[in-house]
């Protein structure tokens, strides 16, 4: 049982602050999903965790020991990059075997472990090939195998699936999730995709502009984002956000849309709010008696096969509605969509969460 602890870690590169006061404590046997948009500092954070970069200030502790200045060679870490990084002049076998050989393991043992790991990642038939002779997905499998075989206490993955095509990504994602579940290491998995974070489960660490915005069990963070920024990051398509003024049981947008707030929302304080609703909580059909109908103009209907993303425009406000099934709506058509007030998020002036939908299940899977 080891822990990785980051104490007020800052990292400056030139004049740019890449990491801003990171305080985290990660425990072994758990999966941490580092979620954030590009330039949020995910890679910088992983590099500091690995020991590839030194924090400008702050300390890194592994198992209570200060390792801030310790070189990466003397730490027990493994890393998978976004680009498929393998040793181009080694065969897949030698690639996977290299960390084991460097540890000084005996030949038979190396062979056994390499074959086991290769089998786990379904690249056993490719062991004698060079990385350049593999497809992108196979190359990344090789890189992941090399990281897994080492059995390091800290396994870092920096958007490992982002350069793969959609189908391969889904396939590898589910495989990886199963692989991580059996690990006793601290696994840190960086991604920009909320979907991926939800599939991976575990704990989520949401980042933005070099800061940790929120961390906790992934589902909990998803259901109760602590701020409007977290909600925006952890939502795909981005959460619909509207500024409203609440007075006398009604939320009023500057453009004149009025949303009656009944039931448990009646006790909300008066004043200005930022109101958020996920695209999948809006619907093209009325689903309950409390639903509020909003009429708008269709800007675009993106059909992704099993679902449709309809972009609405209503009095200079843009809304995205995610609806199951195929709904070919013409551009410029007038249509209605429905909003369930029970699914609304209310954020205060500073962006802090004031009210999350209580009807959502809050099972803590992690």
């Amino acid at each position: 049982m080891t822990t990785l602890e980051l104490r007020s870690v800052n990292r400056l590169e030139g004049d740019e602050l890449h990491l801003d006061d990171i305080r985290l404590s990660l425990e072994s046997g758990r999966l941490y999903v580092l979620l954030g948009p590009t330039n949020a500092g995910k890679t910088s954070l992983l590099r500091v965790m690995a020991g590839l970069d030194r924090p400008s200030t702050g300390r890194v502790l592994i198992g209570g020991q200060d390792v801030t200045g310790r070189s990466v060679r003397r730490r027990n870490v493994a890393m998978v990059y976004q680009q498929f990084v393998n040793y181009p002049s080694f065969t897949v076998y030698d690639n996977i075997a290299s960390p084991l050989r460097l540890k000084g393991l005996r030949r038979a043992e190396v062979d056994k472990k390499v074959r086991e790991t290769a089998e786990l990642l379904h690249i056993e038939p490719l062991l004698q090939r060079l990385p350049a002779e593999l497809s992108g997905g196979q190359q990344q499998r090789c890189a992941i195998a090399r990281a897994l075989v080492k059995e390091a206490e800290l396994l870092l993955l920096d958007e490992p699936l982002v350069n793969l095509d959609y189908k391969l990504r889904e396939e590898l994602r589910t495989e990886l999730r199963a692989l991580f579940e059996r690990r006793s290491a601290i696994v840190v998995y960086a991604t920009t995709e909320p979907m991926e974070a939800l599939v991976m489960g575990g704990h989520a660490v949401v980042m933005g502009e070099g800061r940790v915005l929120q961390s906790g069990p992934t589902l909990e963070v998803y259901h109760r984002p602590s701020s409007a920024r977290v909600a925006a990051v952890f939502s795909d398509p981005t959460m619909n956000m509207v500024d409203v003024n609440i007075r006398g049981g009604e939320a009023r947008t500057p453009a004149g849309l009025v949303l009656p707030l009944g039931g448990e929302l009646a006790d909300l304080r008066q004043g200005r709010f930022r109101l958020g609703v996920r695209a999948n909580h809006l619907s093209l059909r009325r689903r309950g008696a409390a639903d509020i109908e909003i009429k708008g103009t269709v800007d675009l209907a993106e059909i992704s096969g099993s679902e449709t993303f309809v972009h609405f425009r209503h009095n200079n406000l843009d809304w995205v509605v995610q609806e199951a099934g195929v709904h070919p709506l013409a551009r410029g058509a007038e249509a209605s969509f429905y909003l369930d007030p029970a699914k609304l998020y209310f954020f205060g002036d500073t962006g802090a969460l004031e009210r999350a939908p209580s009807s959502l299940p809050l099972d803590s899977a992690a």
Binding site: A50, L52, S71, V72, R73, V77, A78, M79, Y81, Q83, V85, N86, Y87, P88, S89, F90, S98, P99, L102, K103, R146, K150
Partner: protein, 265 residues
């Protein structure tokens, strides 16, 4: 289309004519060379080659040249590999200026450096040794090698270095077994350029040697004997001097363009 072929043929004709003439001469007797125009040897003879390969005063020139060229190539690569790695991987104060300054070393004519080198080597007792010429040629070859190698090294993603460190490679082991195989084309091209510049350089090689390390180029310029000019032997020596270059070019022919672009293609 046919015009293009014709133009190419004419072009190659002009290019190869001097070389043909050299080979032609090397297979003739001195009498035939001086007696008039013959397009190919009338009395084919290999006597000129036999002279060179058996006469110690001739073949020692080749041996001397090979020794200092090999020494120079080895020194240049050994020095330039770490230097190029540093330039390609690390940022330090003045790195850009230093990198450019290296190249300016090639801009000065060798004649400028002949006198100081001569005096210096005399003082240190290095005059007329192979290492003297090899070191002198480093003045031109090390900057060139650094430039070419830096280009090739920058083509290797930095993540490979980091992955190796994460895996636990020590720096020397990583450099020898992971990194060098990745830039072997660059090392080949660099070695070729070092070989070439050192092999054809005459001024310094001649000035810094007298007897013990006299290069073939110098021997060829001193072949006027009492019996007059030994044309045939001289031509044979010329042919033999071209051969190593041709062989080396053959091995790196696929990487030449990249080498001339200093690895930046």
């Amino acid at each position: 289309m046919r015009l293009r072929y014709l133009a190419l043929i004419v072009y190659f004709g002009f290019l190869l004519l001097p070389i043909y003439w050299l080979v032609n001469m090397s297979l003739k007797t001195n009498v035939e060379i001086t007696s008039g125009l013959t397009l190919w040897p009338q009395n084919l003879t290999f006597a000129n080659y036999v002279t060179i390969l058996t006469d110690q005063s001739w073949y020692s020139g080749y041996i001397n040249s090979f020794i200092y060229v090999a020494m120079n190539t080895a020194i240049s690569l050994t020095v330039a590999l770490p230097a190029a790695y540093a330039f390609s991987r690390y940022r330090f104060i003045g790195d850009k200026h230093m990198f450019f300054w290296l190249l300016t070393n090639r801009m000065a004519p060798p004649a400028v450096f002949v006198l100081p080198f001569f005096q210096l080597y005399q003082t240190f007792g290095l005059f007329d040794t192979h290492i003297a010429v090899a070191l002198a040629h480093c003045l031109f070859n090390v900057p060139l090698a650094v430039w070419i190698l830096e280009g090739f090294m920058s083509g290797v993603p930095k993540e490979i270095d980091e992955t190796a460190y994460v895996d636990g490679y020590s720096f020397p082991r990583f450099f020898l077994f992971v990194f060098m195989p990745l830039i072997k084309a660059g090392i080949g091209v660099t070695a070729f350029f070092c070989f070439m510049f050192s092999w054809v350089e005459l001024l310094m090689a001649r000035t810094l040697t007298s007897v013990a390390a006299k290069p073939i180029g110098a021997i060829m310029t001193r072949t006027v004997s009492a019996a007059g000019m030994d044309w045939g032997t001289l031509a044979a020596a010329g042919v033999l001097t071209i051969v190593p270059g041709v062989l080396v070019i053959y091995f790196v022919r696929n990487y030449m363009a990249k080498g001339f672009a200093l690895g930046r293609v």
